[in-house]
Subunit: 366 residues, 2 copies
């Protein structure tokens, strides 16, 4: 059903369209040239895990093509999305010296993408950024759409900016070194994209469930990821600043954020929490629309995301309260994304406490 | 020649037009309502000097209208445009709690406007900002155009974002408490706007030179400031992100930045340095265009900006080198704004070292 494209385009207003180019990182210099970046200095930001694997081929490719790369390696993990780490980048980059045309190349997962993207958004009021995703989440989600930012003591992603990349260079072979738990976490977002906007992609995942969950079949991955990326790209194109339709990307996320916060960040991976949240949203959707929604098929796929912790041990009242204080709410109403049918989602604020409680029970049973 | 408008509009693309409303700060709540901001929480950022005068009437006006204002007062002066002060704002604002519709009201000069504007640009990826300028520079320059940001150890304004205000509430009577040296510094920017884009405004200044330099005649000020603000608004409207025409606002600034940096920041006020820089640019313009440019008239007005230090004591080679490293340069070419004639400017990179040296000598003689 699915072809492997070499490029997916992200159409934006005012000539800021960009492409996701599926190719080897070795082709980075050629692509920088294609998008009009002229050789000179460039900054590469990566983390220790990704850097150990890909820093040196990327540096070599850039240098050979006449670039002067400055590579900065940050510690891996969510902790690097901090004001302190951001300041380290600012100091390093500004002391090295850049001008408004110097690109920042983000080589890594969502943490590196968000941090380096935000630095690029704010250095000299914005320099070009090139996203080179290496985790599954980055390939299908965080590297696309221009959201960048860091965390604050009071919550995740509270400081940030929209800053679209000039191009996304997606080397799917980097996924070969991604740890299994990171892969499965990313699969939650892939499934989410299928469920909210691409019924064919869902069938593909369903058909190859074991193979895509382990991530071992290169041919399947090369079909699945560009397709999942396209869902995100299309939604972002319609609603760049998240004033409307983009909100459907939060399918499962109202519950997920609450779960992560109540359990303590890091207990559940984001993907594990999103999988539980999607099960809850699925239940609510099916309750309203019994005919249209193949609840058991979707739930079967969602339960394929392995859970390392038992969510039923969390206190429902705590989860309920945490949902109430989510920053995405407008005023007091908690907003949920539900399905009309497989492949089509909408936002609503109109859900009873009793229904939420039932959804929670459904979502937390094995 | 000039009328006093009650409002100047800043037309921007995609429905983000905003107005500069000339009125009392007491009318702030009504204006917030006019631009569609709904009462609820709001953050007011000010500095100690401005806060001492205007914090309490503003707070009272907001509270009476049903707003819940949270007032944050930062120390006065350029030092507050720092990462540390920014973090203080983030912590304070996020602990207090805001949502994406909570406006930040910047009540002060350019320092408060740039700092609070940047916080608003980056909190929750952007919340509304209302600029309430209280210094002359803020009225005619910094509160308009959406540039926000902070300084870095390696240079001024190196970290920032474009973030247009929802509205500018300009109470000209706040200028009554502005110290004289701040007034004269702002006059340099007023004169700059006249010289690059509004020959009538220049004639007005020339005619009332002593009165406008002291800032004491309310009737004149109420005519002059909206007119000077309009120059900036129109240029920004044409080129919001500074890719072209907006560069002419840097008239005098290539030299000025070099002077400030070589003398050590704070030795010359920005306005003093700009006045010297404009004299240099005037010289270069007249050299190319002897007929079109009334050099002596313009120079007479520029020399009315009092200088507290003798710029001829600076070493020319140091100034030359500092110009070379200005962040506004494209590659190696130093860019200057020159005049075609009074009221019309253009950008060029094509100036010989000998000419620069002559311009410097002209600009630094009393
Ligand atoms: N900006 C957005 O729109 C958006 C969307 C979704 C998530 N996010 C953010 O993304 C982050 C999560 O992304 P993530 O899961 O990629 O986190 P991550 O960047 O921390 O990567 C996860 C782990 O995998 C390692 N890794 C990544 N690629 C690797 C590779 N090819 N080989 C070996 N190890 C590799 C990393 O070093 C890290 O330890 C969160 O901070 C989240 O807020 C942002
Ligand atoms: N964003 C832009 O486009 C832009 C343009 C020009 C300048 N700037 C920035 O603006 C800053 C300079 O602006 P500024 O001169 O207004 O600086 P400022 O905000 O420090 O104000 C100067 C002094 O006047 C005091 N003050 C201001 N209004 C007052 C009032 N009504 N009564 C009594 N005291 C008052 C302040 O407390 C301060 O001590 C610089 O940081 C510069 O980089 C920004």
């Amino acid at each position: 059903m699915i072809d492997t494209p070499s490029s997916v385009s992200v159409p934006l207003k005012r000539g800021r369209d960009y492409a996701i180019r599926y190719t080897s990182l070795r082709d980075l210099p050629g692509i920088l040239h294609d998008v009009g970046l002229r050789t000179g200095k460039c900054v590469v930001v990566t983390d220790e895990n990704v850097g150990a694997q890909y820093r040196s081929p990327v540096r070599t490719a850039l240098s050979s093509a006449g670039w002067i790369p400055h590579v900065i390696t940050v510690p891996p993990g969510e902790k690097s999305k901090s004001a302190d780490q951001l300041q380290v980048l600012y100091d390093d980059i500004l002391e090295w010296g850049i001008d408004r045309d110097t690109p920042v190349i983000a080589l890594g997962g969502g943490v590196v993408g968000d941090l380096a993207g935000y630095a690029a958004a704010t250095l000299l009021r914005g320099v070009p950024v090139v996203q080179c995703p290496t985790s599954l989440i980055a390939h299908v989600d965080s590297a696309l759409g221009g959201k960048t930012g860091i965390n604050h003591a009071t919550g995740k992603n509270l400081i940030g900016a929209f800053h679209q990349p000039n191009v996304v260079v997606a080397d799917l072979d980097t996924l070969g070194t991604l740890p299994q738990r990171e892969w499965t976490s990313g699969m939650a977002e892939v499934i989410k994209h299928a469920v909210i906007a691409d019924a064919d992609l869902f069938s593909f995942i369903e058909e190859h469930l074991v193979d895509v969950m382990t991530g071992r079949r290169r041919d399947l991955i090369h079909k699945m990821i560009p397709r999942a990326a396209k869902v995100k790209a299309e939604i972002v194109a319609e609603d760049e600043k998240e004033s409307g339709r983009r909100a459907i990307l939060n399918f499962g996320h109202t519950f997920a954020h609450a779960i992560e916060s109540v359990a303590g960040y890091g207990t559940f991976t984001h993907g594990e929490a999103v999988a539980i949240g999607m099960r809850a949203a699925l239940f609510l959707s099916a309750q309203r629309n019994t005919q249209a929604i193949p609840r058991e098929n979707i739930d079967y796929v969602l339960r394929a995301i392995p859970q390392q912790h038992d969510p039923s041990e969390l206190d429902w009242q705590d989860v309920r309260r945490a949902m109430q204080s989510d920053k995405k709410n407008k005023g007091d109403v908690v907003r949920f994304v539900l399905l009309d049918r497989l492949g089509q989602a909408y936002v609503t604020g109109d859900i009873s406490d009793a229904a939420l409680r039932q959804a929670w029970d459904f979502a937390t049973r094995p």
